[in-house]
């Protein structure tokens, strides 16, 4: 009798907050799931700190993924591939799934998990991309592109100040850093790598954001080519765990890496870096 009353109470609370039945079920399954156990003490401490709040702020931001000299831009499609995974039902051993999408905010995905403290924690995952369409030539003439780029950049750099976990999937611009805008081109319509290498705007913005952070993200993932070179030297010994690549990263591998890392984190597995 007590359990039915409890379920009813949970349902009413969920509905009173304006949330859907899907979210109620999501929360319910988290409630009845097993409490995770971790034997490694360092790993236990990391995850305890990471999941010690009621709401966990996670962000995955796709940079502007042009394929110059072609006009094709792919980040919109890659984001959709990731959305398919997030909204799918979880099979065994995967945790990057069973998310519920917000009706009001198309970039917000929610999931409840049980923490090491045996309490329910709400994962608020924001998933954003930078391009309006797959045509770079059309995008540079579209005023909505400016909004999209600014929105993605703001979410990323603000996330470096406030979020708990943040992933970037995009170009490294040959060491220039993360980029959310259409590419700067030479007269021959090739990427102006010299400009990016010289200005390093992406890296400068990252440094600035991290320096202003009261508590930087526990995990920062840069899923882009040679991204180990993008980590500001001052941050190497910081409290943040960095996930980077030492070589060129193919787009399908970057996507899969994001999914695998997300699943690992949500299931509180202990990778070597912990």
């Amino acid at each position: 009798m007590k359990i039915y009353f409890f379920i009813l109470l949970l349902f009413c609370t969920t509905k009173a907050n304006g949330q859907t039945t899907e979210l109620f079920l999501n929360r319910f399954y988290a409630l009845i799931s097993k409490q995770p156990t971790i034997s490694n003490s360092q790993c236990y401490k990391k995850y305890s700190e990471l999941f010690n709040k009621n709401n966990i702020d996670m962000r995955i931001i796709f940079g502007y993924k042009d394929a110059r000299p072609a006009r094709f831009v792919a980040d919109r499609y890659e984001r959709l591939t990731l959305i398919n995974s997030l909204l799918a039902h979880c099979n065994s051993n995967r945790f990057d799934c069973d998310f519920v999408r917000s009706a009001e905010d198309g970039d917000l995905f929610i999931k409840y998990i049980k923490g090491l403290d045996n309490k329910i924690h709400k994962i608020e995952l924001r998933l954003v991309n930078s391009s309006v369409s797959p045509d770079d030539e059309a995008n540079i003439k579209d005023p909505f592109q400016i909004w999209k780029s600014n929105n993605a950049a703001e979410l990323f750099y603000e996330g470096l100040k406030h979020a708990d976990i943040i992933f970037y999937n995009g170009h490294s611009r040959d060491g220039g850093g993360p980029d959310f805008l259409p590419p700067r081109l030479t007269n021959k319509h090739h990427i102006d790598y010299h400009w990016y290498r010289t200005k390093k705007l992406g890296i400068k913005n990252m440094k600035q954001a991290l320096n202003m952070a009261e508590k930087p993200p526990a995990i920062i993932g840069l899923f882009s080519c040679h991204s180990d070179q993008l980590v500001p030297k001052s941050q190497i010994s910081s409290r943040s765990e960095w996930i980077t690549s030492k070589k060129l990263l193919y787009f399908a591998d970057a996507l899969q890496n994001i999914k695998d890392n997300l699943s690992e984190i949500l299931s509180m597995q202990c990778p070597n870096k912990f």
């Binding site: 905010d105 060129l248 787009f251």
Partner: protein, 275 residues
Amino acid sequence: MEFSTQQVHSPFHFKTKYSKFYWFYSVLKRFFQKAFFVSLLLLISPYLEAKQNWKFLAKRFTGESDLIRQSSINQIKKIPNLENLLKKELSGPDKFIVLDVIATLKLTGLLPELIKYSEYDETGFFYHALNALMTTTSLKHKLSQLYYSRLLNVNTPAAAKVVILDTLGRLNVSLSSADLKYLLLDESLPEVRSAALYYLRTQFTNKTGQERDLILLKEVLDTEPYQIRLQALYFFSELNTTYQSVWLPFLKSCLTDKNPEVKQFCFDLYQRSNK
């Protein structure tokens, strides 16, 4: 000296008599045996090597300098039986690399396979490869018809619908108002509705848009999520003043929008248009 009967009856009894020739014969025999195996190895090794190597080369199509990219393309082109090799990998875990190779090298021989696998493609990337092969007018026409038929099929994955809408917009294929209304208002995934909105924008950019379709946007301003409403407002801001009398009345609903960004942009647009 005693000779065994085996030796006496050996078919090579001549070796004792013609030892020099026999030595020469054995050397030649060993040489040809080795040469045979080496030749066999040389014949199959490009194929074995290619199986591993083509993926390495294909991953260098993007993210590398033009020189490396072109060199990778040239090397891949030399791989024997490339199309057969790719055909086998098309349904496997390396399908994205395969699609990249097909698109880059314009391998139209694999068109039937692409059409077959794209039907259930949940990523939309098979359609990108198909689009790269659209090099003739007849093929554009044939694929456009196929895309349109799949667009309204409920079993077509959402990601595929997004690519299809982008492609039909680029090819200036007209959708009926009824179909457009469904895609703008009734599709469950916001990304498909956003792609439909972008399709409409492309029509007007190409000056083939129909004024009657703009009326659908009044309802779009009442849909969720807020990003779609914002996209619609940006679209209004780009339209020719000729259409202002059509969309300006729609702004009354968004002046009290619950999302602050939408509300602010709506207000700014309204002010600007009323000057």
